[in-house]
Symmetry: D2
Subunit: 240 residues, 4 copies
C-alpha cells in the first residue's frame, strides 16, 4: 500500500480566500433552533440562560483568535469580525469558518450544564457558518447595524406576541393574526396599554443583542456589552 500513487488526489483541493485587506465576518446560525428551544423549554420571548451560554461560547472562540476585534450576537446567531490586516490561516475561508463553527458548538455543549443546571441537553446542537468580506469600515458598520436592526424587529415582535399569549391568554394563531400589519408604534402601544410594559425600559440585552470586545487595559479579557450604539461624528464607537 504505497502512499505515493494515491497522493495525486491532494491536488484536487482548493482554498478560496477572503480578499486581502477586507474585513472578514464569520456568521454562525443555529440549526433548527425553534425546535431546539421547544425541546429544552426555553423561556419566552427570550431565555437569558441561552443568551449567556451563547456569549460564553463566543468568548471561547475569541480567545482562540486574538486577531478578532469584535463579536456580535443576537437570537441564535453570532458574528465574528477579523480586521483587514489579519492573515489568520492565510485567510482560507473553509479553515476559518469551519474552525469557528466547530469551536462555538463545542463550547456550547461544554458549558451547557453551567447555564442549564437542571436541564439535560437532549442532543448535540449545530451551527452553520459563512464568511462575508467587506471592503470598507462603512460597509462593516452597516453589517452590524443590519444585524442589530434584525434583533430589534424580532425582539419587539416576540415580546408583544408572547405577552398576548402568556399574559393575554390568546391562542398563538390569534396572536399572530392580531399583529399582522401592525407597525413598530402599534406594538409599543399594545405593550404599554394592555400589559403596562414600557418596551424601551426592557433590558438592553434583549433589545440590542450582545457585543464582545477586548478589555482595553490588557487585551486578554473579552468584555461583554449590551448597550446601544452611540451616535458618533465620523466613526467613533461602532458598538458600545
Amino acid at each position: 500500500m504505497a502512499k505515493s500513487q494515491y497522493e495525486y488526489v491532494k491536488a484536487f483541493e482548493t482554498a478560496e480566500k477572503g480578499l486581502l485587506n477586507t474585513w472578514m465576518v464569520i456568521r454562525l446560525d443555529g440549526h433548527s433552533f425553534s425546535k431546539f428551544c421547544i425541546q429544552h423549554d426555553f423561556e419566552k420571548p427570550s431565555d437569558i440562560r441561552c443568551i449567556e451560554l451563547m456569549n460564553h461560547a463566543a468568548r471561547s472562540v475569541m480567545k482562540v483568535f486574538p486577531e478578532m476585534v469584535l463579536a456580535y450576537g443576537q437570537s441564535d446567531e453570532y458574528s465574528f469580525i477579523f480586521p483587514p490586516k489579519c492573515n489568520v490561516y492565510g485567510r482560507r475561508k473553509s479553515k476559518i469558518v469551519s474552525t469557528c463553527a466547530s469551536l462555538f458548538s463545542s463550547a456550547f455543549v461544554f458549558h451547557w450544564a453551567t447555564y442549564f443546571p437542571g436541564s439535560k441537553l437532549q442532543h448535540p446542537p449545530s451551527f452553520d457558518g459563512r464568511m462575508i468580506c467587506y471592503p470598507t469600515l462603512h460597509n462593516m458598520r452597516d453589517y452590524l447595524c443590519w444585524r442589530q436592526a434584525d434583533c430589534h424587529i424580532n425582539n419587539l415582535y416576540n415580546t408583544v406576541f408572547w405577552a398576548l399569549v402568556l399574559k393575554g391568554g390568546m391562542e398563538q394563531k390569534a396572536a399572530a393574526e392580531s399583529l399582522k400589519g401592525t407597525v413598530s408604534g402599534d406594538k409599543h402601544e399594545i405593550l404599554f396599554t394592555q400589559f403596562d410594559i414600557n418596551y424601551s425600559r426592557l433590558p438592553e440585552v434583549y433589545r440590542k443583542g450582545t457585543t464582545l470586545h477586548w478589555a482595553s487595559e490588557e487585551e486578554t479579557h473579552v468584555r461583554t456589552t449590551n448597550k446601544a450604539h452611540q451616535p458618533s461624528p465620523d466613526e467613533g464607537r461602532i458598538l458600545g
Copy 2:
C-alpha cells in the same frame, strides 16, 4: 432603526458550490490533537476510547445527512462522502463544511463522558473542515486509499515508536533517532524480534481505520466496519 437601509450588505455574500455531479468529500481534522492527547492522557500508540468516540460523533453526522454514502476515520481525522447526485444545501461549500464540523465537534463533547467516564474534558476541542470534489469513482476511491495508506504508515510508525519507548525503555528522542531511515519491513522486524509483536495480527481498527456505511437492510442504521472492504464485481476493492 430601519432595517432596509442596511440590507444592501447582504449582497456581499457569496456561495461557492461543489461542482455538480461530482463526489463531495468533507474532511475534518482535529486542531492541536497531539497536545489534546497529552492533556487527556491518551493511551499510546492509539486510544481505543478516542477512536470509539470519534466513530460515535461520525455516526451522529451521518444520521443528520442520510445522503452520505460512507465515512472513513483514522487518527484525528474523519472524511464524509456525498455521492454525485446529492443536492444537500444546494451543494454550498461553507454551509455543508461548517455544519459537519459543528455537528461532529458538538457530538464529540456531548458523548465524551460515555467513552471517558473517569476523565474530565479539559477544554472544548475543535476540528477544521474542507470540501474536495472528485469527478470520478476512480478518483474517489484513490482518495480513500490515500487516507488509508496514511493511517497504515502512521500507525506502523507509532506502534514501533511507542514499543521502543514504553516496552524498550528508550528515551523518545533516541527512539525517533533509531527509526530514521527504516522502511516498512524494518519496522515489522523490530516489532517481531524485540517485542514479539506480529503487526499484521494487531486489530484492524488500528491498522486500517474505521469505515461507516448504512446497513443495507433498512438504510437507517449506520454500521461500523474496521475490516477491509470486500471486492465487489463492479467496483473492486475500495479500501484494502
Copy 3:
C-alpha cells in the same frame, strides 16, 4: 521609484481553476450580433460567409491549443473542448477563457477580408467567453446536444420566418405573429407547401452547425465537419 514597495499588490491576484479531471468547455458568444448582421448586410436566414469566417477563426484557436479535442459552432457562438487530462495554463479559468476570446476575435478581424471581399468591416466586433466544467463524458455529450438542439430550433424558425418575409412578402411583424404557437411540424409544412422547401434537405451546415476535429492521420490539420457525427463503437453518437 522602487518597485518593491508596491509589489505587495500582486498578492491580491487570484486564480480560479477548472476542477481537475473534468472536461473544460470554453463557449464564446458574439456581442450584439443581431446589430452586427444588419450593419454588414448579412444574408438571411444565415450568411455562409460569416459561418466560414467563424470556422476559420475557430481553427486558428485550435491550432494554438493542440490539447483541444473538438470545437462546435453555430449562430454567433463557438464552444471549444479540452479533455479531462489537459493541464493547459494550469487550468486557470481567466487565462484560458481570455486567450480563447482574444484569439478568436483577433482571427475574425484578421480573416474578414477573405470572406467578405467587397464589404468593409465597420468596427471591431467582440465575443465574451466563459468556462464550464463537466465531470463525465455523458454530461459533455449532453452539452453538445444542447447547443445543437439550440441550432436546430433557431435555424428552423429563422428559415420559415425569412421565407415568409423575403419570398412570401410578409411584414416582419406579421411573419412573427403567424409563427406564434407553431410547432416543428407546422414549420416544416409551411416551408414545403408554401415555398416548396424540404427543410431536411437543406445543407447540414445550417441545420446542424459545424464541428471541428483533428484529422486522424497526422493530428496537425483541423478538419471541419458539418455532417452529423457517426457512431463509434466506444462512444456512440456525440451529436445527432
Copy 4:
C-alpha cells in the same frame, strides 16, 4: 431532438464575481510579444507605432465601457480600471475579462494598417486577461505605481541595452553580460557618458507609459496622457 432534456447542463455554469465595492482592474498581457516584435521588425528599444496602436485599441475598449475611470498601458500590457460602485455585467469576472481581451485584440488588428502602413500583420496576435480587486484607493494607486515602476525599470534597461548593441556595436550577449549587477545610476551614467543620452529627457511616453482618462468637459472623449499625473489636494499623485 428536444432541447429540454439537455438543458440541465446549463446548471453547471458558475459566475465568480468581483467583490462588491472594490476597484476592479482588468490587466491584458500580450502573448509571446518578444517573438511578435521580431516578426514585425519593431524598432528598439520601443516602437512608437506599436505604443500608439495599443493606445488606440485601449481607447476602443474604454468607449465600450463608459464606467471605466482610467486605463494604463506600458510595454505589451494594458490595465483597465472600474470604480467600486460599478455594476458592469453584474461584476462577472469571465464576462468582463473576456470582453476586454476580445475587444482589445479585435481593435488591435482592425487598426493595424493605420499604424503600420507598410508592414503586413503576419498572424492574429492575442492577449490574455485577468481581474484583480482592490478594496481601497490606496491599494489601487499602489497597483498603478507597481506597473509604472515596472515600465521604468524595463525601459531604462532596454534603452541602455539597445544603445550598447545598436550604437555601441556590442553583441547582444555581451551587452547583457556588461549590464549584470548594474544599478539605476550606472545605467544613467553609461547612457550619458558613452552615448550622450540624458535618460530623464527622453520622451515620457517611453519612460512612464500611457494613461487614458475621460476629458473632463464632456466625458465622451478618451484623452491620452503620457505626462506624469498632477498632484491633487485630496489624492496626491497617482503616478509619478
